[in-house]
């Protein structure tokens, strides 16, 4: 037997840093780190020199100064005497509201369209393909502007409601005008009021106690309903007979909520034509509606494609096996197809949500006061602090994106196939 002799101990040579694979990766990393640090140093020194010439050192004092501009859609109390920080907060809330509404409608539409695209009906499938191609191949900014123009140009003016040329929709509860859409607002005649947090600071906010009460009741209802389901599962496992529980499970959720709504004196406040405009009700601006519709339709086209590929990726044998076991078509969909399709659909769905959130920054094109419009728009122009505002805005978007993706990744991990 020959033992492999140890390599000669020649000591460390400088050329080993380049030609020995043990050291080479270290060398590459150190060199690239130095290059990177030099690059950042160069950027920072440039920035410092430029800012010194301009006479504006980096500081965030402007955030505490009065903003002196108004924001047309505000979810919390805000006046032009409030600070730039609070204006930015209003913008952030507007962004989040738009993104939230858009994600919900885009998902509903996208799933419906994706399923219909696979329809056996030739005509339906073709129309859905046309829809998807149209929205995927035309820029979203153009769609936003088109929907905004439709809202402004073709919807009736409020005074046309007076003369009877236009009428309110849905049992006289919704008014669609060229200034925006008025919908009924929920009111509580003996409500619990609001609680205000954070005193008088720029980040102060109030929460409706009615909403909290409703959410608590809802969660308790869902919890009890799940308990009923587990006990039904248990009975089915022991006896083989599943007790009928659907009406119990639904009523456990619905009746307490109706009871709470009644106790709080819930009623709807309808919009009414007073003077030159509608009063009462919730007023959704044109810009919000246009962005909402355009972003939903646009993103729905992408979600539809994801849904279609997800459903097509589940093998036909799966549903055939389920039918062979005698499982009903509805339960086959619920228990066999959907769990497998969802696993494929969810990761691209997350990135569509992210895209929608990022695309909501196009709000600036139609004058919706989102984060880009307030912090990176008017605040930037008024204070001239482009470095601070743009970097802050980017950081906030980054945090939103990372939050959405980590939330969704957590969900994705919880439904992931456990492989052995």
């Amino acid at each position: 037997m020959n033992a492999i002799p140890d390599p000669d101990k020649q000591g460390f040579k400088f050329s080993q840093l380049l030609y020995d694979t043990r050291y080479r990766s270290m060398t590459i990393q150190v060199v690239s780190l130095i290059a990177l640090l030099l690059f950042f140093g160069w950027l920072i020194s440039n920035t410092a020199a430029n800012l010194a010439t301009l006479g504006k050192p980096i500081q965030f004092k402007f955030l505490g100064e009065p903003s002196n501009y108004d924001i047309n859609q505000r979810l919390l109390d805000y006046t032009s005497r409030d600070t730039h920080l609070r204006a930015g907060l209003m913008g952030l809330l507007n962004t989040l509201v738009l993104a939230f509404m858009g994600c919900i409608t885009a998902t509903v539409l996208g799933v419906a369209i994706g399923v219909m695209r696979l329809s056996k009906n030739w005509l339906v499938a073709r129309v859905m393909t046309l829809y998807i191609e149209m929205f995927r191949n035309i820029p979203v900014l153009l769609w936003i502007i088109i929907v905004f123009s439709i809202m402004i140009e073709t919807m009736p003016r409020p005074n046309q409601f007076r003369s009877g040329e236009a009428s309110m929709k849905l049992l006289d509860s919704v008014a669609i005008t060229n200034r925006g859409v008025y919908i009924p607002e929920p009111l509580f005649s003996n409500g619990l009021g609001d609680i205000y947090l954070l005193g008088a600071s720029s980040l102060r906010f109030g929460i409706s106690l009615d909403l909290i009460a409703l959410l608590i009741v809802l969660f308790v209802g869902v919890f009890v309903s799940r308990k009923i389901k587990t006990s039904a599962d248990k009975i089915q496992n022991e006896t083989g007979v599943r007790p009928t529980t659907w009406w119990k499970r639904i009523s456990v959720i619905i009746f307490p909520i109706i009871l709470v709504l009644w106790a709080l004196g819930f009623h709807l406040g309808y919009p009414e034509l007073k003077g030159f405009n509608f009063k009462g009700g919730t007023y959704m601006r044109n810009s919000l509606i246009a962005l909402w519709i355009a972003l939903s339709l646009y993103t729905a086209a992408f979600i539809a494609e994801n849904v279609r590929s997800g459903i097509q990726a589940v093998e036909k044998g799966q549903s055939e096996a389920a039918f062979a076991l005698g499982i009903s078509p509805g339960r086959t969909m619920n228990l066999i197809i959907l769990p497998q399709a969802l696993r494929i659909i969810i990761p691209p769905l997350i990135s569509q949500y992210l895209n929608l959130t990022k695309n909501s920054s196009l709000a600036i094109a139609v004058g919706y006061m989102d984060l880009t419009g307030t912090l990176m728009g008017i605040t930037l122009n008024q204070t001239g602090r482009e470095l601070e505002t743009v970097l802050m805005g980017m950081a906030i978007y980054l945090v939103i994106s990372l939050a959405i993706s980590s939330l969704m990744n957590w969900y994705n991990n919880s439904v992931k196939l456990v492989e052995r």
């Binding site: 990766s25 020199a49 009906n121 191949n137 979203v140 196009l362 743009v390 980054l398």
Partner: protein
Amino acid sequence: MVDLSFVRKDIVPQRAAPLSEAGIVGWFRKNMFSDIPNTILTIIVLYFIISVLSSILPWVFSPTWYSGSLTECRSILAELGRDGHGGGGACWGVIRERWLQLLFGFYPSELYWRPILAFFLLGLALAPVLFEGASRKLLYLTAVYPFLCFWLIWGGSIWFPITVFAGFIIAYVGFVYVNKIAGSLSGVIASIVLPLIWWLFIVSPLSTMLFSILPIGSEAIDSDRLGGFMLAVLIGVTGIALSLPIGILLALGRQSDLPILKGVCVCFIEFIRGVPLITLLFVASTLLNIFLPPGSNFDLILRVMIMVTLFASAYMAEVVRGGLAALPKGQYEAADSLGLDYWKAQRLIIMPQALKISIPGIVSTFIGLFKDTTLVSIIGLLDPLGLSTNIRADMAWNGILWELYGFVGFIFFIFCFSMSRYSMYLERRLATGH
């Protein structure tokens, strides 16, 4: 006894399928009216299609091609007895009068041949990359095309693009020569350092000197005269061409074993993917000059191109990473066992397969990038959308909307749809499975 058994002696001739199952009727029955819910759905969709078409088609077919203003349009429509307030028909006169502007922006009209020639040459330069049948010799054109295109569109001294191009030749010659003398690593370093010195210190004095000796050049065009679809294509093609190689490098960096390199790539990709493009365009329009050495002030279009390229590269990196992850591990191991080094393994084994897998993603990134070029209208560049606003500010066309947006949308649709069809063709051509 009579034998009553009956045996047929000959085969019954085939009969045609019943009318209700064959031909058009059968097809309709099967695909549109198979059962009652299906029939109801078909009728609803048909009603929807007819109502949409009946409202749009009369509007589209409107004899206003030669009108010179919106009021003239409306009077033509009113004479025909149609609604004169926009609902009666489109006013196509605006497209006839302004389509050149929508295509070229404020480019001087006597020089339109330059962008047209550049666009035509773009087709020729892309042919060897896109299609198998095209002549390989065209690749030389592809190599010099970026400089040719720059010179055709912006004009000015011909020596500037030539001297910049010479930098690449210097890089190549430096690599080959130093490689022979001092080994491959020194060759690589020489091929990076020499052209950098050339570009930073020699190009601008040399090109000025050459221009003063031999003044060959064409009329220089300012960047603010570029616009329309020319600008969109310019930004889009630059972004597409540069983002693929940068994206591949980023993806390789993200997959690499070197933690520092990997960390840098991950941070860059996640940062770019986490912020909206519009904020990066704000950086291009307001901040980039602050980051650069004092006194440097270069073109807004160039700054936008840089930002768009960085944006697309991060997305491209993720698409390519998906392709890399989808490759079976055996491919990497096979490359290693053949004794290939890292770059050879990537070039010969890994990348051809990974890129093939990621074609659909790559092309949809391209399409997204091309659509996103419309965002530059927000920072004040005159892309087709910015020009539409501009045209509407004209007295003659004040109040026109759908014709312009329809035209712009239609052209975008043609570009993007053909790109997606091309990706399907490419997937079929490269498919090696069974």
